[in-house]
């Protein structure tokens, strides 16, 4: 509508701008992915021919990512952390959705803002504040009752808690938005037909929320997987992939094996994102 009112050179220029913007968006991702297939020891031009060595080769100097033990270990730890963070965040996100959509209690608006706040705290601050509290508690217990609690020291548990502290906000917002659209007469109908509270929850309300819960879980998984800022301060000896890659970049410099990891991660998160979109689309069809 509006487009027709403007002169066409303007629209053409506008379109070119949009295209240029998407080239800007794609460029670093393409360069990060493409050099994984370059048959060279450095991720740089000129192009030396196609190779899959950086994925599958088992000999130095071109040790492929699937034979690189430290990278695989990082991938494994990232996976474990992301699963726990996603499960925990979806659970708390769901209880929060019920709390804020159905619950009536004093100070509800204040608590709602408290729920959003973790999203606007810099990740670095979340990391150090949790580190400080956990270490203080551990030191205190050690000094007073001589109790050594290993899990309060930097490690997987602290990484999970640190990431959960702000990812829970994201899942809460996603699931709350879905619960707000729920038609409560459906529950009433089930009650009138004699269903118990638990049964209504299981057969009516939770199935309605399921697409949002799965989508929120996928988002939580991906955000956890790619998190660096919060993780950096809480990491122990079990370093997740982003930390391992950063170490490699700082110590060895950029090598094409990092491009191979980038490529695999991009394909993996692309597929997960696609899955969450398909689930969301299903939801709108219902």
């Amino acid at each position: 509508m509006l487009a027709q009112k403007k002169t066409s050179p303007f629209l053409l220029g506008y379109r070119l701008y949009v295209v240029a913007f998407f080239i800007f968006l794609a460029a670093p991702l393409i360069s990060a992915g493409a050099f994984a297939f370059n048959d060279s020891l450095f991720p740089a031009l000129p192009w030396q021919g196609f190779t899959l060595d950086w994925f599958f080769s088992d000999t130095e100097p071109k040790l492929g990512m699937f034979h690189d033990r430290r990278l695989l270990q990082g991938l494994y730890y990232s996976f474990v952390i992301a699963i726990f963070v996603a499960a925990l965040s979806v659970f708390v996100g769901t209880t929060n959705a019920f709390l804020f959509v159905r619950g009536e209690f004093p100070g509800k608006n204040f608590f709602y803002i408290m729920m959003v706040v973790p999203l606007v705290i810099p990740g670095v601050i979340l990391g150090i504040s949790i580190l400080v509290l956990a270490s203080d508690t551990a030191n205190y217990l050690e000094d007073t009752i001589d109790l050594e609690l290993e899990f309060l020291r930097p490690g997987i548990l602290l990484v999970v808690l640190g990431q959960f502290s702000f990812i829970a906000t994201i899942t809460s917002l996603v699931i709350t938005a879905r619960l707000k659209k729920f038609d409560e007469t459906m529950e009433e109908a089930a009650f009138n037909l004699g269903a118990s509270r638990a049964r209504v929850l299981r057969t009516i309300t939770l199935p309605f929320l399921r697409p949002a819960m799965i989508a929120a879980g996928i988002v939580a998984f991906l955000v956890s997987f790619e998190n660096f800022n919060t993780t950096l301060f809480l990491v122990g000896s079990e370093a997740p992939l982003t930390i391992t890659m950063y170490d490699r970049m700082a110590k060895v410099g950029s090598t094409p094996v990092l491009n191979a990891v980038s490529f695999v991660l991009m394909v993996g998160s692309g597929l997960l994102a696609l899955l969450s979109i398909l689930i969301q689309r299903d939801k709108s069809a219902q």
């Binding site: 509508m1 509006l2 487009a3 403007k6 629209l11 506008y14 701008y17 949009v18 913007f21 460029a27 670093p28 991702l29 393409i30 360069s31 990060a32 740089a44 031009l45 209880t95 019920f98 709390l99 619950g103 608006n109 709602y112 803002i113 408290m114 729920m115 959003v116 706040v117 606007v120 705290i121 810099p122 990740g123 670095v124 601050i125 979340l126 150090i128 504040s129 949790i130 509290l133 203080d136 808690l161 959960f164 502290s165 829970a168 917002l173 509270r197 991906l222 790619e226 800022n229 950096l232 982003t242 950063y246 970049m249 950029s254 990092l258 491009n259 980038s262 991660l265 991009m266 997960l272």
Partner: protein, 289 residues
């Protein structure tokens, strides 16, 4: 009566996870950080309460210069992200056809699913001396020898704008999407030109989205660690780097906690000012996007 008890019990059960989360992972850690930042080491394992860590910050120009630099560069990044992102969001929400709209929106989201590290890595490969852009310019003959585009402020800003722009576009698209096209048409029919319509109708309508986008972009930019370090190199002097140095390199947790509080205060004040100046609240901006 029994029903009322059940309701109350449900409420308490639902409140428990929320309370544990906010109390144990947000409120208590921040209180712990404030307390720690007010401690001063006077002898090994002996501490006194004082403002020494904050005074250190004031007495050392490098520290507050870094904070000011981080803040001003983040404001610049936010402004650039808004300027570059607004036309894109407008195109997606209002000009693109209904089928292209979904596709373009998804394209916008793709970099969101890739970690900061990979995005910066991609920029390094493009910008460095042996990188793609330098090679391309050599090939076209525009430059005679390889040029280093990395390790300067421009590279940091490009990388940061790239990292945060999606968080600007997404809330903008969702607010512009809810805007009725007839409002824009009415503006034109009443004799307004493109600029007046933009200034008097579109921007006021999109304000919640603009504020939400600006808050998140500013916060992400000021709190980012990887992009300034990887793209700016040794001279990036980003404030998060100072926090990391205090904590991990110098093992001065008291100083690091004070720096963390300062960064938090600084970003909160900027966000609060932004909300006040635009007449918005946190609940109707960030929470909605």
């Amino acid at each position: 009566m029994q029903n009322k008890d059940i309701k109350r019990l449900t409420l308490i059960l639902l409140f428990a996870p929320f309370a544990l989360w906010i109390l144990l992972l947000i409120i208590l850690p921040h209180i712990g950080m404030v307390v720690l930042s007010l401690k001063e080491k006077v002898a090994p394992r002996v501490y006194e309460y004082s403002f020494a860590n904050y005074l250190d910050f004031l007495h050392e120009p490098i520290y507050w210069n870094t904070l000011l630099r981080t803040g001003s560069m983040s404001l610049l990044v936010t402004a650039l992200a808004l300027l570059i992102g607004f036309p894109i969001a407008y195109y997606i929400a209002k000009i693109a056809g209904p089928r292209a709209r979904g596709g373009l929106f998804l394209l916008c989201l793709i970099p969101l699913w890739v970690s900061d590290l990979i995005r910066s890595f991609g920029w390094i490969l493009l910008l460095r001396e042996t990188g793609v852009i330098s090679n391309f310019l050599l090939w076209t003959g525009l430059i005679g020898q390889p040029v280093e585009f990395l390790y300067n402020d421009a590279a940091v800003i490009v990388g940061l704008v790239y990292t945060v722009i999606l968080f600007m576009i997404v809330p903008l698209v969702s607010t512009l999407d809810g805007m009725d096209n007839s409002m824009i048409e009415a503006g034109y029919n009443l004799g307004g030109n493109g600029f007046t319509v933009l200034r008097r109708i579109i921007i006021p309508y999109a304000m919640p989205g603009i504020v939400a986008g600006c808050i998140v972009t500013f916060m992400l930019s000021a709190g980012s660690y990887l992009t300034p370090i990887l793209l700016g190199g040794k001279n990036s002097s980003w404030f998060t780097e100072q926090i990391y140095n205090q904590f991990i390199t110098r093992f001065n947790w008291e100083g690091g906690a004070a720096f963390g509080m300062l960064l938090l205060l600084f970003t909160s004040i900027v966000i609060w000012l932004g909300l006040k100046l635009s007449g918005q609240t946190l609940a109707n901006t960030v929470a909605k996007s």
